[in-house]
């Protein structure tokens, strides 16, 4: 070990944290080294004077304490408010969910009929479409039935056309009858049956 290493041991010894082994080695060195001896002497003087330096005391300890007490009480009050607020914030999602469920329930209670009617219309339309689809599929699967169906359709069309013809004919007849009647009604006086002027 060199002198500078022993000087570090001197510092550690002043702080009271030198192991017994190193203390013995240091003491042995100090007996033979005047430089390190002087170094130790100077450090001890400085250390003594440092410990004798005037100590700065809190002038207004009572004031500091009362100020601190007041601030701590305020912190406690704020903590209490935060805790209560925290509890509210913690339960807010639950309240919100409950409210939402209630609103949904109210909606279904009061608006259900309208929704059902709409659904019924849709169901009717769907059933009509389903029926037509079923009919088409059935006819496609059975040729004879399809022919009969087509025949029925054609017959119904012909009947419609015939009805229309009859109506037209009847109309003409009526028209003719009217004309005839009109003609019948026209009574032409014979020339000899006319009013004379008193011949």
């Amino acid at each position: 070990m060199r002198c500078k290493d022993y000087q570090k041991l001197i510092s550690d010894r002043l702080d009271g944290c030198l192991s017994p082994v190193y203390r013995e080695r240091l003491e042995a060195h100090l007996k033979t080294c005047p430089v390190c001896g002087q170094y130790e002497k100077e450090l001890k003087t400085i250390d003594r004077e440092i410990r004798n330096l005037p100590v700065e005391e809190l002038e207004n300890l009572a004031g500091l304490e009362s100020g601190l007490r007041e601030r701590l009480s305020r912190v406690e009050t704020e903590n209490g408010i935060k805790q209560r607020g925290g509890r509210f914030i913690k339960w807010t999602p639950a309240w919100a969910s409950g409210l939402l469920l209630l609103m949904v329930a109210v909606y279904f209670v009061f608006f259900r009929p309208a929704a059902v009617e709409q659904n019924q219309d849709l169901a009717t339309l769907m059933s009509f479409e389903d029926s037509y689809l079923t009919l088409t599929q059935t006819l496609n699967n059975d040729e004879s039935l399809k022919e009969k169906y087509n025949e029925e359709i054609l017959n119904s069309i012909f009947e419609e056309v015939e009805d229309l013809s009859v109506e037209k004919e009847g109309g003409d007849k009526y028209y003719n009858e009217q004309i005839i009647n009109n003609n019948n009604d026209i009574t032409l006086l014979p020339e000899n049956m006319g009013f004379s002027e008193g011949k």
Binding site: S11, C17, I46, P54, L61, L68, L72, N79
Partner: protein, 193 residues
């Protein structure tokens, strides 16, 4: 000073929101914490404010205190952090030298430096010592103050500063060497006397 068991009891009560338990807990520690902060800031009002802030932070952070170190050591850690933040802020805002220049001339140590011829040899020595301490680099100053002024062990100082015990030991040794260098004129004079 209160023993460890009492300390833990007070901490437990303070955690539950008992302000008076906390006040009892810090009663013995306010003065040394103030002294440390004053040594670092060299301003009485700032030191008083920072002491209060330290205690307030300790109260707020009591739930995070695990009890691995003593409450006194933990309190020192908060005080050091508060002081460093304050000094950094001061340095940023005004520059370190400007801040040091603002130290009140009525400060006993520095006032003595201002007029050494009027002071006795002892007073001169102390004034020189105050100046040497004030001029230590912050890292060295912290380690030195925690051990020499606050009475913490090197291990406790290491816990406060978040470094190894060896680092603290080496920094204190270097701080002593710096102080000795600055104090040489005074040491020679006292030697002659």
């Amino acid at each position: 000073m209160i023993d460890r068991e009492q300390e833990l009891g007070l901490i437990d009560r303070a955690r539950k929101g008992e302000v008076e338990a906390f006040m009892a807990l810090i009663k013995a520690y306010q003065a040394p914490i103030f002294r440390l902060i004053y040594r670092l800031t060299r301003n009485r009002e700032d030191a008083a404010d920072l002491t209060q802030e330290t205690m307030l932070k300790a109260y707020s952070g009591l739930k995070s205190f695990k009890g691995r170190s003593s409450f006194y050591t933990w309190l020192h850690r908060i005080a050091v952090n508060e002081s460093l933040n304050f000094l950094n802020k001061m340095n940023r805002e005004k520059g370190k030298m400007e801040y040091l220049d603002e130290i009140k001339p009525t400060d006993p140590g520095l006032a003595a430096i201002a007029s050494p011829e009027e002071s006795s040899l002892q007073e001169e020595f102390r004034a020189g010592l105050e100046r040497a301490l004030a001029e230590l680099p912050l890292n060295y100053k912290l380690a030195f103050f925690l051990v020499v002024f606050q009475g913490l062990s090197q291990a406790e100082a290491a816990a406060v500063l978040g470094c190894s015990e060896g680092t603290v030991s080496w920094k204190i040794h270097e701080a002593r060497k710096m102080i000795r260098e600055r104090m040489k004129p005074y040491l020679n004079r006292t030697g002659e006397a």
